[in-house]
């Protein structure tokens, strides 16, 4: 479930500011102007062709950024990344190019290029909160939660009171089981955006972790009322129902959680417990098997990210 949330966080991140105007030779300017007109006329293919020429023949980084933007809008993610790589060859330290690469990598769940790019950016622009935030999100995606927490804490220090930073930090705390840190962080995030389902769900997880099952139950139910398929909220409510020994209800919400986040082993493990309590050993064994398969798959995907991440060997 954290993958889906990360994607949302990455896409919701503030878009890179428009590239600054550069002194351009007339040919570049003309090509860019004609491309702009083509976009206005709805002829995106022509716009892309013109921008590609400007990038290739006139070494226009601005044209390549605009081209990548159009490609991204048209869901041509791979092509957009290729365009940005070309832009980086022309301007290796361009903040706009690096930022675009990082955000595109994050949106495409390509954690390794995102982390590598953002680590460069946080060194080049140490006071820019957005890059620390994005680095934190990328590290979360790679499963390196201690490093993610460090980056997100820095982002929160540089620019306090940002809803997305607080939410990401709260999620990272939850994943490290640092629930007493997660709780106040997520409360602040919720104050800034009282209707955020993800924040309410994450808060319920923190509340369950601090042992306040009543609050966890209340907030998980709130999140489910807004988004019945929310994976986190259903998982939390399932665990609360399990603790309350209300096993049939636990089973029902955990099945929703498993369906909502099919890659996560967590609801499968809880379901194995619930079915065991219900005396259904066959179903318990089946969900335990699925839990273990998903756990191994998750570990394999995290291991594949090495050495960009600092995942512990133990």
């Amino acid at each position: 479930m954290i993958g889906a949330i990360l994607l949302t966080l990455a896409l919701q991140a503030q878009a890179p500011s428009a590239p600054p105007a550069r002194a351009a030779v007339p040919d570049r300017a003309a090509l860019l102007a004609r491309a702009g007109e083509a976009v206005q006329q709805g002829n995106r293919a022509e716009a892309k062709r013109l921008l590609e020429i400007a990038g290739r023949d006139r070494q226009s980084v601005r044209a390549l950024l605009q081209l990548a933007h159009l490609q991204l809008e048209d869901r041509e993610t791979a092509a957009a990344m290729q365009t940005l790589v070309k832009a980086r060859q022309l301007a290796p330290n361009s903040e706009d190019v690096l930022s675009a690469i990082a955000e595109l990598s994050l949106a495409g769940r390509a954690a390794v290029p995102a982390i590598l790019t953002l680590e460069s950016m946080t060194r080049l622009y140490p006071d820019e909160a957005r890059y620390s935030y994005l680095l934190g999100v990328a590290l979360m995606g790679a499963g390196d939660l201690p490093a993610a927490i460090d980056a997100l804490r820095k982002a929160n220090t540089l620019q306090p009171g940002q809803r997305l930073t607080l939410l990401a930090l709260g999620l990272a705390y939850n994943n490290q089981k640092l629930f007493t840190d997660a709780y106040p962080t997520l409360r602040k995030a919720l104050d800034l955006d009282p209707d955020s389902v993800e924040t309410i769900a994450a808060l319920s997880e923190a509340e369950a972790g601090t042992g306040d099952l009543n609050a966890a139950e209340r907030d998980a139910a709130r999140a489910i009322a807004r988004a019945p398929q929310n994976a986190t909220a259903n998982l939390v409510l399932g665990m609360v129902r399990l603790a309350q020994q209300r096993y049939p209800e636990a089973r029902d919400v955990l099945l929703i959680a498993a369906q909502a986040d099919p890659a996560s082993p967590k609801p499968e493990y809880q379901l194995s417990l619930v079915y065991a309590r219900l005396g259904d050993q066959a179903s318990s064994d089946r969900h335990r098997q699925q839990y273990q398969e998903k756990l191994r798959a998750m570990e394999a995907s995290l291991a594949a990210l090495h050495p960009a991440t600092r995942t512990p060997g133990k």
Partner: protein, 551 residues
Amino acid sequence: MTRLILTIAAAALVFIQPAAPELLFRDIAAQAGITFRHHAAPEKKYIVESMSGGVAMFDYDNDGRPDLYFVDSLTVDTATDPSAARSALYRNLGNDRFEDVTDKSGLGHPGWGMGVCTADVDGDGWEDVYVTALGGSRLYHNNHNGTFTDITASAGVGIPGWSAGCGFADYDHDGRLDLFVSRYVKIDLAHLPEFGKDKTCEYRGIAVQCGPRGLPGESDFLFHNDGNGHFTDVSEKAGVSDPRGYFGLGVAWFDPNGDGWPDLYVANDSTPNFLYLNQKNGTFQESAFPWGVAVSEDGAEQGSMGVAVGDYDHSGRLSLFVTNFSEEYNDLYHNDVDHFTDMSFRSKTAAISLPFVGWGDAFVDYDNDTWPDIFVVNGHVYPQLDRVRMGASAGYRQRRLLYHNRGDGTFDEVAARYGTILTDEHVSRGIAVGDIDDDGRVDIAINDLDGAPQLLHNEIATRGNWLLVALKGSSPNTGAIGAEITVTTPSGKQTSVVQSGTGYISQDDKRQHFGLGTAPEADVSVKWPDGTVTTQSAVKANQVVTIQQIK
């Protein structure tokens, strides 16, 4: 006027002087004559150099006073010289003095020692000693004269490879004590995994020892006591051989489902733990997952090390406390008759344990208020960690945790309340708890991987009444291993079990300690391993009471 000023100044001084911390434990190891030092390689480049050692508190000479045995280990550099490691047996002389009797005892050189458990394996009334080790564990028979004889070969309990945890119990109710031994990682000293070689040999981007993940594990052993001085390997037949080779460490025999037959819990590092339920026919059913004690509450396989068993909530049922790796949490699994519930976060024991690598653990009622508290020692496995203090993990040396039981299912971590004795940082492994001087306050012996051991003498001033219950079982299980003792006072019932093999590859004193609070007396009930029950009513507080099984 001057006098008034002086009085005010003196009063002010009294006012601003920080209150002295309350005295709980004092380390008396040095003054008691304990000079043992555990050997360790400075860099711990190989996992075999990080996991030892255990400690036993047991009465080897039947003088009524618990003695101490510390297990030592070799290193890769000294692997070919068994004399480079010297485990040590200390005889309790009384008055908080110990005498090194190692040389006479013959227990000094078990090889690359790891852990220890004790039991009277032949029913002669004297405790024998089993030492786990890398390259061959050993069973030492007690000769009743301060010496021991290595009977490993004749008993048939020699185990190759890397054995770690051990414990004796009568799993088949034939009256004789059988032996379970957990094993850890398959290791070849001639072909050790290269330090920092690949991704399983890195931690936070720095080179560290490899494993256990990425290394092959070892199977486990159950030996049936045939009663003629020989044991038979029944691991596979009994269903406890661990063919997948999980990384076995701490071992606990107890009866969580109350059916009168000993079950077995095995803490596995970085792999799911085992709960083997006794099927009463010589076999076991592995049930840790459905019973909720295989992994963490959210399904994470944790690096489990030590196992403690105790009735922390006066439910009459034995719950589990399992120590784990850093950035994981210590598990408190509450016994709910037909399953366990992970109460770690709800009990307030989990959060504070996250930075620490936990090892030895025990339920101990250190203040005799009737509620068993929890004591945990910690210490990392990577000395290199101190160069990169990243994430939530503490450094290489780590403080202890003392959880005070509030009596409502939750705990307060109170180590800092008692000065620096528990907050000073160590690299600790095994602990053994018991009352070394019969003063009614539980003491703790600690074996550190690096540095001197400690003997924490309990000197708490404000404490309740107490009982120490010593059991004399019928031969051949003369130590009454597996017996459950229930002590009843107006504040409720407390249950405890006599175990061989406790905490992290160690051995607690088998006499069971109970805090009685303000109660001047208690009813004591013993459920012996064969199911018979002995009851003594209105037993006066503040004494060692010995209860003999009558057949």
